[in-house]
Symmetry: C2
Subunit: 334 residues, 2 copies
């Protein structure tokens, strides 16, 4: 019961076992399967990708098959068959985000909750489209819906608020929530380069997508604001309620001027305001993180302003956030 | 079970009740009593200060008496009588830190654990002197020993590692853990002032003590390193094992030079190395927080480096960290 913790890797607090499926087997899903190999209390009953389903998978084997470009399927079941009919406790939903309708993730999450399975997801789509419906469905069925990985990857903003700050009143949340934007702004400011040049280099490095619209116009940040506003302020809002300005019209002159005056410019999502826009952050403020890092500051009544920073993306970091959610579901069951 | 949370202040996750005593009634103890007024599930059975014990205190009344300089005592019991003989679940130990022998806190904590009461403390003394003994005593008696408030006040580094990062392996912890030092270094760097001048102003403002030795020579930071090293690396170390250099010999020229090259100088405690010393931190790194803020970075195997920052001192912020620990003990009991 004390907090002593040895160096071993490490599932504390939970001797119970839990069975789960992994729906989606891209980089994040493979990261989750990789981490689950070290957690003997967790039984992976099925893994589904877009082409088929592996039932009772040997994790090492199925990871090797996927990486080798082979099919992982060993059954005739569909993804929805797994979610509905295979007996298990928790669905890890890690299909790609689609904020226009939320599918296929929305159906996966909805069906899992209806069948009294907890859900842990990194997929913003279902939450942006139908947060209230899904939260109510989870409550009604007495199961958990966890989504730490949807906001800031490995940066644990949601568990910070939900668990650690449970005794405080949260007044506002402000965040630097998009690593691509932060990388572009950091390099523009530090090296005096213009937007198009840095974007092009970021695309070459895989930090920005070929079509960067979703990141640089602030859509991705706005989705995260929607999730936090629903989760912690009961705002019942969707993407359309967020006033959003991106970084695509910022000049290097503006960044240099800010820097000379002791500020940096960051794309900030403000959850209480429901805004996303470039803002001046004093150098030395905890939100002023550079490169692809994410950071979020929580303003509370009694604990002051608490900030958490970490890697906002990366498949293993996102998988780590998913594992953290799965372990918290296990703890709450015991 | 979903994470929806309304704006009300807020004790989530815990319908059970818990009885506790508050041992020590200075600024932090009064802060704890103030916050407990809003938590109906918690019953404060006794409050002890150096002059007497209030049994079954009316919190509003006892806070008014203390602030008015009146005695809070309404019984003949001693502090140890309360800890040993009054039936309750948890002792909040908030007497002043004494790292030379740990008393009186050490006896308070030891007796509480022996009597199967959980302990939540902001007092570094007992943990620096006898961490292993106290952790074993808590384990043996099946009760909790929590000490979030001993390291960085409201900055939740311990719960971050214990709960949120439970699925990762922690490789190192580095922290800016003393607000007085950070304030002095920040002003020296930003305003080009010398150490003595800033120290003198910090003393006038109540940010530094009249005798600043404990802070500026790194002793306070070293105590926090000892606590984290015992808690998370099983290091069985004490204060004497930490190689400690303070900030009292740093020149403003060194700080200016670092600044021109894109760095700031911070007093950093490194838990894996067991060192405390001034180090260069790149501007834009999350540890580079200014003023009296504290920050700590946790390097993990799978979640990358996660940093948390917040107010390192302040009676209400420290009380908030204590309340967070008390609520986590309640959650773990259910």
């Amino acid at each position: 019961m004390s907090e002593s913790r040895q160096e071993a890797p490490t599932v504390q607090h939970s001797s119970a076992s839990l069975s789960l499926s992994i729906i989606g087997f891209g980089a994040v899903g493979q990261g989750v399967a990789t981490l689950m190999q070290n957690v003997p209390q967790i039984d992976v009953v099925a893994i589904a990708d877009s082409k088929g389903v592996a039932l009772k998978p040997d994790l090492k084997d199925v990871l090797a098959r996927k990486r080798g470009g082979q099919s992982i399927s060993n059954s005739d079941l569909s993804t929805l068959d797994v979610i509905r009919a295979v007996d298990h406790d928790l669905v890890v939903e890690v299909t790609p985000t689609n904020i226009d309708g939320g599918e296929p993730g929305l159906t996966h999450v909805r069906e899992a909750l209806k069948h009294k399975r907890s859900v842990v997801t990194s997929n913003k789509g279902p939450l942006v489209v139908a947060f209230d419906e899904l939260a109510r469905l989870a409550d009604k069925n007495g199961v958990a819906l966890r989504y730490e990985a949807t906001v800031g990857g490995a940066m644990p903003i949601i568990s910070l608020i939900r668990d650690t700050l449970a005794g405080t009143r949260v007044l506002d949340i402000r965040g630097v929530l998009n690593g691509t934007c932060n990388y572009i702004l950091t390099r523009m400011a530090q090296e005096g380069l213009d937007y198009d040049q840095v974007l092009s280099e970021a695309q070459d490095m895989g930090i920005a997508e070929a079509d960067p619209t979703y990141d640089v116009t602030g859509i991705d940040t706005a989705c995260k604001v929607v999730i936090l506003a629903n989760a912690f302020f009961g705002r019942h809002c969707t993407f359309a309620d967020v006033r959003t300005t991106g970084i695509d019209r910022i000049t290097e002159d503006a960044l240099q001027l800010a820097r000379q005056r002791g500020f940096s410019v960051k794309l900030v999502g403000d959850v209480q305001e429901l805004t996303v826009s470039p803002k001046l952050i004093p150098i030395g403020h905890p939100l002023n993180v550079s490169g692809t890092l994410n950071a979020a500051s929580v303003l509370t009544d009694t604990a002051g302003e608490i900030t958490v920073a970490g890697k906002g993306a990366g498949s293993i970091e996102t998988a780590s956030a998913i594992l953290s959610d799965v372990l918290s579901v296990m703890r709450d069951r015991t």
